[in-house]
C-alpha cells in the first residue's frame, strides 16, 4: 500500500492539464445536473462523487478507446460496477463523442436510449448494471480473457463503497488476486454513504484498505477529487511489473460541489427540483468544485 500524497513530484501532471480537467469536470457536472433535473430523477450525488475519477479516465488520456469503433478489440474496458453512476458515465460518453450530446435530453424519456441505470447497448457502455456486485466479476472475467489471449488491454472498474457490502465483491476479490490479474484496476468510490445511511453506521467497512490488502491486492489510498493524486496512483500502470490487481480507494464526497447535497443521506438517487435545482446550478457555476 502507498498513499498518493507521498509520491514525489515527478509523477505529477502539468498544471495546464489539471486546469483543463477541472474545467471539464465542472462542465460534466453541469451536464449531469441538467440531464437529471430535466428528467426529474437520476443519481446526482453518486455521480458527483466520482466525477474527477471518470474525467481522469476518459479525458485525461488514461483509457484507450475508439469512438468510431466502440467494440474495438484492443480497447481498454471500463466497467461501471456501481451502475447508478450511469448519470455521470452517459454525459462523459457523449462528451468524448460516442453519441450526440442531444441524446442526454432523452434521459429517462419515452423512446430515449437510456434510463437511470447502465444499459449495455449504449455506445461506449460495456454492460448492463444497476444491481450491485456484478460488474466487478465481469471485469475480472474480461481481464482473465486478456491474459488467456495474451492481449494488452486493461480493465478498469468502479465500485461504490456501499457495494462492498455485497458478498460477491469478495468472491471476485479472491479470484482476481489468485489469478494475478495485474491488468485489472479497480477503484472504490469511497463516498462513505449508501442509500439510507452512512456506510460505517450500517455495516462498517473500515479498515477498507487492509481488507483489500489481505485479499491479495495492491492498494492505493487517494483523494478521489484530486487529479494530481489520481494520476499519481495510475502513473506508469501499463508498464508496471506488479503481479497483483490494483485497488485505488478514492476518498470522495457524495454530492461534491453542491453544498446542500454534500454528505446528505436523503439526496441518494434524487435530482433537485425548483429552487434547489437553481441553487445547485448557481453553485456549480460560481464556486467551482475544488
Amino acid at each position: 500500500m502507498f498513499n498518493g500524497k507521498l509520491m514525489n513530484m515527478e509523477d505529477s501532471i502539468s498544471k495546464e492539464k489539471v486546469n483543463y480537467l477541472k474545467t471539464k469536470a465542472n462542465q460534466i457536472r453541469n451536464s449531469v445536473l441538467d440531464m437529471c433535473v430535466k428528467a426529474g430523477t437520476g443519481h446526482v450525488t453518486s455521480a458527483f462523487s466520482c466525477t474527477e475519477l471518470l474525467v481522469a479516465l476518459y479525458h485525461g488520456g488514461i483509457l484507450r478507446y475508439d469512438i468510431s469503433n466502440p467494440k474495438k478489440k484492443d480497447r481498454d474496458r471500463f466497467i461501471l460496477s456501481k451502475g447508478q453512476g450511469s448519470a455521470i458515465l452517459y454525459p462523459i460518453l457523449a462528451d468524448v463523442g460516442f453519441f450526440p450530446k442531444e441524446k442526454l435530453n432523452e434521459f429517462c424519456q419515452k423512446d430515449g436510449m437510456f434510463g437511470v441505470h447502465l444499459q449495455h447497448d449504449v455506445p461506449g457502455a460495456e454492460i448492463t448494471s444497476g444491481s450491485l456486485g456484478h460488474g466487478f466479476g465481469i471485469a475480472a472475467g474480461m481481464a482473465l480473457a486478456a491474459k488467456m489471449n495474451n492481449e494488452q488491454y486493461f480493465v478498469f472498474t468502479l465500485l461504490g463503497d456501499g457495494e462492498c457490502h455485497e458478498g460477491s465483491i469478495w468472491e471476485t476479490a479472491m479470484f482476481a488476486s489468485h489469478h494475478r490479474l495485474n491488468n485489472l484496476i479497480a477503484i472504490v468510490d469511497r463516498n462513505w454513504l449508501c442509500a439510507t445511511d452512512f456506510v460505517e453506521n450500517s455495516v462498517s467497512l473500515n479498515p477498507l484498505d487492509q481488507k483489500w490488502i489481505s485479499f491479495g491486492w495492491d492498494v492505493v489510498n487517494i483523494n478521489g477529487h484530486s487529479f494530481e493524486e489520481i494520476f499519481v496512483a495510475l502513473h506508469g500502470f501499463r508498464s508496471n511489473k506488479r503481479n497483483k490487481p490494483l485497488m485505488i480507494i478514492a476518498d470522495t464526497v457524495k454530492g461534491k460541489g453542491i453544498s446542500f447535497m454534500e454528505n446528505q443521506i436523503l439526496w441518494h438517487g434524487t435530482a433537485p427540483q425548483g429552487q434547489e435545482a437553481k441553487q445547485a446550478k448557481r453553485e456549480l457555476n460560481t464556486e467551482g468544485c475544488d
Binding site: H120, H134, G137, I138, G141, A145, M148, E171, F175
Partner: protein, 317 residues
C-alpha cells in the same frame, strides 16, 4: 455405467481440444470425465471455488471477450444461488454462456432438499432469452454439448446424475425440442428428463389394461415447440404430465399454458412433486414412492382417470 454428465463432458472435451476459446468453469465440482479435461486442457479449465455468483459474472466477462464459456455445478447452486447474476449478466445482455447443472429432480436423493433440483425449471423459464434443455439420455447429453457449443444466447442444460438407459439413436436430430416416443389415443403422457423412462414403463403397464398411452418427451422446456406439442396432445383423449419437479411452474404448468393459450379443450392432469420439501431418505425410488411418483402409483393414478364418468366430466369442464 456412463452417466449424462460423462457423455456431455466427453463430447465437450473433444470440442474444446479443437477450440482454445472453449472454457469450462466449475464451482468445486468434479466428475470422472472432467479429470482428463482438467489434465489435458488445463488452460481452459477453471475451478472457481465454491463461489457461484462469481462463476457467472466471470463467465459473462469471458463471454463478452469472445470465449465460449460453460459453467458447471450441482443444479440448485448453478441456478438458485446465482439467479440474479444469470438474469442480469447473462439474460439481460443476451450473452452466450451455458449453465450445466447436474442432479435433476431427486438425483441427489439422500442429500436432501438443499441438493434437490425441484424448483429450477419454474424460476429459469421465466427469464427472457434463455433456452432450457432437460436431458433424457446419454445420446441427448452428448448432442447437447454440440448444441451448446454452437449456441449464441444463454443456455441451461439439466443433466440427471443417475445412469439412465439410452432411448434415442445416435442419428437423432434434437432441434425439434420434442419427441413422440410412442403413439396412443387414450392418454398422452408428456414427460421430461428421468420421468420419460418412467412414462415408457407406465405406458407398457397401461397397455395391459387395454389403455393406449402415448409418450411424449418434452426435452426443450424453453422455448417450447407448441405446434408439435399441440399436435401430439390432440391425438389423445386426455393429457397427463409427469415430472420430478415441484407442481408449481414446471412441465405441468408449461403444458397447461400451451393448452389454455391455444383454446384447446382437453382434460389435463399434472403429476409432479407436491408443494412441500422432501426429507425422505433411502434412495430415489423410496422418495418417489413416498410422494406417489413411482411408476406403480402413477399407473394407478392414470387408471383412475379412466373411470368413464370422470373422463366425461373432465371433457365437459
Amino acid at each position: 455405467m456412463l452417466t449424462q454428465r460423462d457423455a456431455f463432458f466427453d463430447k465437450l472435451y473433444k470440442i474444446a481440444k479443437n477450440d482454445r476459446d472453449v472454457i469450462l468453469i466449475c464451482a468445486d465440482m468434479g466428475a470422472p470425465s472432467l479429470d482428463k479435461f482438467r489434465r489435458d486442457l488445463g488452460s481452459q479449465f477453471i475451478n472457481i471455488g465454491i463461489a457461484e455468483q462469481n462463476m457467472i459474472t466471470v463467465a459473462s466477462g469471458l463471454a463478452l471477450s469472445g470465449k465460449k464459456v460453460f459453467t458447471y455445478a450441482i443444479m440448485p447452486f448453478v441456478t438458485l444461488r446465482c439467479y440474479e447474476q444469470i438474469k442480469v449478466d447473462m439474460c439481460a445482455m443476451d450473452i452466450p454462456v451455458t449453465l450445466i447443472g447436474v442432479g435433476a429432480g431427486f438425483s441427489y436423493d439422500d442429500s436432501g432438499p438443499t441438493h434437490h433440483a425441484t424448483e429450477d425449471i419454474a424460476i429459469m423459464r421465466v427469464l427472457p432469452n434463455i433456452t432450457i434443455l432437460n436431458v433424457t439420455d446419454n445420446i441427448m447429453a452428448s448432442a447437447c454439448a454440440d448444441i451448446a457449443y454452437n449456441y449464441t444466447t444463454p443456455l441451461y442444460v439439466r443433466l440427471d446424475r443417475a445412469p439412465l438407459p439410452e432411448i434415442y439413436r445416435t442419428s437423432e436430430n434434437f432441434s425439434n425440442g420434442i419427441s413422440c416416443l410412442r403413439s396412443g389415443k387414450d392418454v398422452c403422457i408428456v414427460a421430461t428428463g428421468n420421468m420419460v423412462h418412467n412414462a415408457l414403463e407406465i405406458a407398457d403397464k397401461l397397455r395391459e389394461h387395454s389403455i393406449d398411452a402415448a409418450v411424449v418427451d418434452l426435452y426443450r422446456l424453453k422455448p417450447v415447440n407448441s405446434e408439435s406439442l399441440l399436435n401430439y396432445l390432440k391425438q389423445s383423449t386426455m393429457v397427463v404430465t409427469l415430472e420430478e419437479h415441484l407442481i408449481n411452474g414446471g412441465l405441468g404448468s408449461i403444458v397447461a399454458e400451451v393448452i389454455v393459450d391455444n383454446d384447446v379443450n382437453i382434460p389435463l392432469r399434472r403429476l409432479a412433486i407436491p408443494d412441500k420439501y422432501c426429507y425422505t431418505y433411502g434412495g430415489r425410488d423410496t422418495i418417489q414412492k413416498t410422494i406417489g411418483l413411482d411408476t406403480e402409483e402413477v399407473g394407478k393414478r392414470i387408471l383412475k382417470l379412466f373411470d368413464k364418468k370422470k373422463v366425461k366430466r373432465l371433457r365437459k369442464n
